[in-house]
Symmetry: C3
Subunit: 143 residues, 3 copies
């Protein structure tokens, strides 16, 4: 299943929430059988995203969730009361755009390469919802 798109499913619990998916992505890479190449992790939603962040101190995760909400508040808040989108989640779309829909990782020895303190996080900005993440690997071309 080297090149097949694999889908991960998760359930988020709050409006803004970072959920670590490092292990799930590493398992998808292992299942793909690719030993050396690239791995793309892609979020097919418009009010969620994927990012790389510190996986040691959980306070970092909480600080990121809180600050992003300060920077880009929900539609009801004063500075943004001019939002027109009727669903009231324009802030979620903007957070999703600025964080980004995908990350591209290198694969070596069958594992995604991450820095010592890095983890892969699904970034929920309009939860709680059931969400998907797609993972696809591409093996190195022969030398």
């Amino acid at each position: 299943m080297q090149n097949q798109v694999q889908e991960l499913t998760l359930r988020t619990a709050r409006r803004s929430q970072l959920i670590e998916i490092t292990r799930e992505v590493a398992e998808a890479v292992a299942r793909s059988g690719v030993r050396s190449g690239l791995c793309v992790v892609y979020v097919p939603h418009t009010t969620a995203a994927v990012c790389i962040n510190e996986n040691a101190d959980p306070d970092v995760r909480a600080d990121v969730e809180r600050f992003v909400d300060l920077l880009i508040p929900e539609g009801a808040k004063p500075v943004l009361n001019q939002f027109e989108h009727s669903e009231g989640n324009s802030d979620s779309h903007i957070k999703s755009i600025l964080t980004g829909p995908s990350v591209t990782l290198m694969i070596e020895n069958g594992r995604p390469l991450l820095g010592r303190w890095q983890g892969i996080y699904f970034a929920e900005f309009d939860g709680p919802r059931t969400r998907n993440t797609w993972v696809k690997t591409l093996a190195d071309t022969g030398v």
Copy 2:
């Protein structure tokens, strides 16, 4: 023309503007002949970017354009009157960096894979201008 870089050209009409290019990217992927692989969409400008966003309600697009301008105002605005870049478009460079120069999509059955509500958008931050977008596909390696 499987691996060839294809260039799309478009004309923007406002200083900040999201223009949907989903169809143009899908056509470039079809022309490449790649049935399964990756597609990179790249914007070769320093005051524009590319993003994935909702393609259903046009109000979302308007809200994103407006909010990004509130968050990162033009140089003339009070909080940023310390901008030094003489062209007066430092805000455009910053918007471009935070949104990002490229997106990487998966290709299956000859089409770029997108979530149900996702579209691909050229993000103009210093228009109106004539702009380019580059598209390149990479086919899966044999298993």
Copy 3:
């Protein structure tokens, strides 16, 4: 060494600093021997990032550094005094997430393709430190 991950090392001098690495990335691509394909530039840190930005006027670089600090101030500043991460660099993590850990470039004729005014920048958000950047190329698959 076509598919090998190459590591660049650099030393940053300030807390927030953009350092151009265009030449170093081009040299890594040349060493890889890949004539046509993709190049991923990846930063394995959680308080730094990589971005594409203007390489002509150095004032742009200074404006970006200054504005990002205005937008996302250090923990000691009023609006963010609710940061809980004990190291006091939560702002650095957030800047790193919004800027992003990687860029994907197209390679043609053995060189990374960049727009006329684009350069590749290592983005330090918690310096000064010694930092690494990883570069990996993937050659086009045969047609």
